[in-house]
Subunit: 381 residues, 2 copies
């Protein structure tokens, strides 16, 4: 091991105990030795994505969180409700590293040529456990950033960009010609809007606030519907008629929005259909739920014939489905647009201890659209 980095370093861990307590802590763990085909990355930036929240908070009641520990090594504990415990059985008692993606500098490498070629390079990686100062990963997981790109610029180069590309790819694979997206003013939503404008894919953006509507229109979005407005369904149906969108990606999950989208799609399809069919239109209408901003149940009115589907969607199984060759092409697209199409913006940058302050947790834990934190693990508290 080189003298450039210590024997032990901090790793953020989330532990659920049998007594229904969540404990978030910064633990000193050995800096790993790289295997032959691995590199050790000094993690310099890692985003707090919505997709990290489930593993991090484990459904605990964070409004009841209590802080302890020291400024350098804070500890946060919170009660886990009965309902959440049921799904957590397999992780009780095991401290879980957190952080789906991040970026940093390769400071050690295994023996393989591929590993050694990355020494000193800035790479991004979606390997899990990225809320840590050092992380050993297989070279196959590393994306070398374009020359001049920083770890901050590359930190969020996997989850959101590959999700946006995956939505467009899924639309094409399943023979649709336009997209609907909810929570459309999110970092991901704005990215999808840029991507769809570039690729000339018609996109119906659904937001919940007038200022979000303005943000998207300023970014060139053509179809933006506010689900909180009185004429939402009318405007949604108009946008669905104009675009012919029959597939939606929904980050909300709970409530009636998915069902409203299907109702709108059916109304748009029926407007262009001929004779009455008691089973509704034969046009297949699909909503994929990829998030759960509303954890309540999804309520489906089923007033849209029989040609419809609702289901879960995640980027990882999607990438397995398209295979490594196509996934590599998508990764190349991300690298080419890292600071443009696929750029993320952050409302705050925090250290590892800073990420465990109750104030920060209250802020990024809300998952409010437009609020996004970046952890800089190398930064001192």
């Amino acid at each position: 091991m080189s003298a450039e980095f210590p024997a032990e370093a901090l790793q953020l861990r989330s532990l659920v105990s049998a007594d229904q307590t969540l404990k978030l802590s910064l633990d000193l763990v050995p800096v790993p030795e790289p295997g032959p085909d691995e590199v050790v990355i000094r993690v310099e930036a890692a985003p707090l994505n919505p997709s990290d929240m489930g593993l991090l908070f484990a459904g605990a009641d964070m409004a009841a969180a209590v802080a302890s520990g020291t400024a350098e090594r804070p500890v946060v504990t919170a009660p886990v409700p009965d309902a959440a415990m049921r799904a957590l059985a397999a992780r009780v008692g095991t401290p879980m590293p957190v952080g789906n993606e991040g970026a940093g500098t390769v400071v050690a490498a295994g023996e393989s040529a591929a590993a050694r070629a990355l020494l000193g390079k800035v790479v991004s990686v979606a390997g899990g456990g990225m809320y840590a100062q050092y992380r050993a990963v297989n070279v196959a997981l590393c994306l070398e950033l374009p020359a001049g790109a920083t770890a901050v610029e590359g930190a969020a180069s996997f989850v959101n960009p590959m999700t946006a590309l995956g939505m467009v790819e899924t639309m094409r694979m399943e023979n649709h010609r336009a997209l609907v997206h909810t929570a459309a003013a999110s970092n991901l939503g704005q990215m999808l809007n840029r991507l769809c404008l570039e690729q000339q894919v018609p996109l119906v953006n659904i937001v919940r606030k007038p200022e979000q509507e303005a943000t998207l229109r300023a970014a060139g979005a053509v179809h933006v519907c506010n689900s909180a407005s009185a004429d939402f369904m009318t405007r949604l149906i108009d946008a669905l008629k104009a675009t012919g969108a029959t597939i939606a990606f929904d980050a909300i999950g709970g409530g009636r929005l998915a069902s409203q989208i299907l109702t709108g799609m059916e109304a748009a399809a029926s407007a262009s259909a001929g004779a009455y069919s008691r089973y509704g239109s034969t046009v297949h209408k699909q909503v994929y739920i990829y998030g759960s901003l509303d954890r309540g149940p999804t309520e489906l009115a089923r007033s849209y014939g029989m040609a419809w589907g609702v289901g879960g969607w995640l980027v990882t199984p999607f990438l397995q489905k398209i295979g490594p060759a196509r996934a590599a092409q998508l990764r190349d697209q991300v690298a080419a647009g890292l600071t443009t199409t696929f750029a993320s913006s952050y409302t705050a940058q925090v250290s590892l201890p800073g990420a465990l302050s109750l104030e920060a947790i209250a802020d990024y834990g809300r998952q409010a659209t437009g609020s996004k934190y970046l952890i800089l693990p190398s930064r001192a508290a």
Copy 2:
């Protein structure tokens, strides 16, 4: 035209008017001349399937139905609620013939060899408008019944048999190895149970009453769960573990049953999984809703990871998907098992006027499991 049949004959029609009234009547319509590739069938038996109820009743409030007309030509009217009218716009003012399937004797044929070959034969047909005394259909829609089979035996040889076969075929096409079925004591459910026993496909039957459980067990069913019993989820999960079923066909539609099935499948999958995954198991779990015995909204708890889907399923698009060659093979299976595997039983046989008595409507309109009517259009009132 031969002198064997009249110039005009009765046809049951369902008419929704702009004043929100449903009118069911028996209208005298000309007996059709067959086209070159058509035959005219004297319809002798046609079942009242759950899938006929939507077109027949148009969502009207049949509890408020009023009878008028004569004994030979009864008329039934009923109010259509606002909510139902929205989906009916395309049929307002157009009298709709009803009856998905039926069987009878070919009494006239067009010029083609295929048409002439059916003269005098007993055929079953899924052509729509079968609640009529005579019906002209293309020969391609006709299934010649095996020698000795009656129209009553062949009347329901399409919808239920092809649906049961379609469920098993869909299970195989989508790489599942066992089935779940709800409303499993229905005519269709008992048929599916026989088919699965024959084909050695593990089947989890979900029913709502103890006597339905007994009926299925007496018919050899291994896994029967009563959704009204206190230990339903426990028994369902046990059955899902035992069978490995990850696809369900649900006739209920509304409420939480579809979601409970997905929860059970996830519990069964997790029991055999290894380490904790925050996104749940990677096993895809699917529920197809093919009926709507409960018209209320479908409520999905989404407590089963991200690898799940819920959607509509209908036999007609399924047959289009598998193509005519495979569909013909399935039809051959039905013909071979017409009086065994694919036999239907009826609680009542009625004439066309009898089908429009308020008592009969109240009975078959309930769609209670085990209650099924057969119309004999050639029978006098």
